[in-house]
Amino acid sequence: MPDSTQNPAAIADTEFQAPEAPRRTRLQEAWEELRRNGLALSGMVVFVAFFLVAVSGLALTSGVDPLLDPAQIRLQEKLRSPLSMPNTELLSPEETPALGIYLLGTDDLGRDVFARMLQGSWVSLTVGFVAVGISVLLGILMGGVAGYFGDLSIRSDHILAAFIALAGVVIAAAGSPAIGAALLAAGTAWIALTSRGKRPAALGGVSVDTLIMRFVDIMLCFPSFFLILTVVALLPASIYNIMIVIGLTSWMGAARFVRAEFLSLREQDFVTAARALGVSDWRIIFRHMIPNAVAPVLVSATIGIATAILTEAGLSFLGFGVPPPHATWGNILSDGKRFIFDAPWLTFVPGIAILIVVLSFNLFGEGLRDVLNPKLRER
């Protein structure tokens, strides 16, 4: 409508026709696309169902007097097969399961596997989401800074000073706080004092991008499962350590994606326009660039949740998982392996549960990739 833009006064009088371009929102379009992809859709259904199960599992099995008690030991009822009825003559009333049936059988201590699986589903869910949350945040931060501020250079004396400060922290943690604090203070003071005023180019420097991406390279050199295993084994056993360690060792992929996206977005017209309008750097990053760069991160995050659940199960299996009174799918399975011939359900129930959940996350993630990236669609 060139004439109406040329004559702003006419706009008020003319009644606008509905704009011709997108009749459907992006969400509707994505939904249409997803509906055509059967595997991805079933993945999403399981995803949602798993979420509901985990939340209801938390509600039913936690608290002082839970409805389904995953820790209730009934030695007279051990290794009962799935769908068997509890023997009410042998059990006191408070020991009988609330459902009146062992849906998934009992384990070697007579604990209800169904209740333990419910409790474990919440653990798997939180491990997956928290670990991936950490890795995605770190990845976006590192990748974003590398992609957006990549051209800035850091003076090499500042890098040296930062190393001195870091060494100070390390030494302070290692046992001599006085020397450590002195080094830390010296390093930060040097940076603070010399960063005012103009940067002397003569000292030379390294660009932010190089620094961050070399760090990514360094992190990629570690064999990831082995590193996680080492750190988890050295730290005191706790579920939070596992989440944090998995998160801290898996952000490199997201950082690379975000950096690549930012490098291309940075040159595009809408960013130049925003900058010309005087929008601040951080607002450009958060308001304009991240929404455009987040699609591949979302995909890798979905698949990352699956990987984190598998990693937790693997750690529990090796005995480094969540400490015993708490049930997780990994440690139900690893406890059950001793009874694999007498009580196969102790292996198969958690194994198949992990398989289904991980599979659904993987399928949903791959489906998302197709949905969010129009270039991959079949025409």
């Binding site: 595997l39 390390v170 030494i171 943690a173 290692a174 070399r214 390279d217 360094i218 990629l220 050199c221 570690f222 064999p223 990831s224 499962f225 082995f226 590193l227 295993l229 080492t230 750190v231 084994a233 050295l234 730290l235 005191p236 699956a306 598998l310 199960a313 693997g314 299996f317 090796l318 399975l333 690893s334 392996k337 694999i340 011939f341 292996t347 958690p350 194994g351 992990i354 398989l355 991980v358 599979l359 993987n362 399928l363 791959e366 079949e378």
Partner: protein, 319 residues
Amino acid sequence: MVSFIGRSVIQKAVTLFFVSVLSFLIIHLAPGEPSQVDPLNPKFTPEMVERFRKAFHLDKPLHVQYAFFYRNLLTGDLVSWKDNQPVLIKIWERFLNSLPLFIVGTLITWTLSFPVGIRSAIRRGGLYDRTATLLAYLLISIPGFFFAYILIILVVSRFQVPVIGMETFGLADASTIRMLMDRVWHLLLPSVLGATGGIAVLSRYVRSQMLEVEGQDYIRTARAKGLPEEQVHYRHALRNALLPFVTMFGLILPGLIGGSVIIESIFSWPGMGRMAYEAILARDYPIILTVNFISAVLVLAGTFLSDLLYMVVDPRIRL
């Protein structure tokens, strides 16, 4: 080319240095000390602990320990804290045990994934493609240890062959054929398990590469001049689709070491993964750090090799 190699080598050396520093810090800053592993053992008198700390330089500051450690590693004097064996010899023995697993696993992965991937790309959207896709996702998603137990039950109850360990105990005077078959059975399950994830990922990758090439203009040209389908797929498309896989020869190098902690401990296979696991349990820092160091070297050497191979194979890339 020469300048690329030079730059790359320097860069990798710097990376390796930082990896060594970082892994050293991670290990030594973690709470607990190796000299306190067993405080209730009456043999561990304070004098013993002191002597132990002195013998392994644990009483020195961290940077001195670091220097001692890597000097010993490079001269081959490094000994395990657990049994005073030289670390490199220990790792070498275990490495020889892991090697057959790795080779057989890699062979299975590569010989299976290419036909599967190529066929699903050619029959895109068909029944074969969809089945292969679903199977690939299943293989990625199944927890390795769960799959291992299913396979063990299957093999043990169906074929009545023992599969745990490297060979059956007490078969020393059996015939050569028996012993050979025994070794093959013991090798088969762990290597199949090690290959499952690889097959799934690689076959999907082959498929997507193949699909990408099939959409190129020169494939349309080949069809347009009336070449038979066979020739279009295998002579024109496949050759170009194979390019990125040449570089993957470099990237499988790290698999030599980081591979299979879980699988080796299920099958009590005395390989590297299991040694690393035992070292972690015993807080045997020299072994943990050396395994970590070697695997970092392999990762760096692998990427370097794949860059070089790419340059040799693909004339479009000239640095």
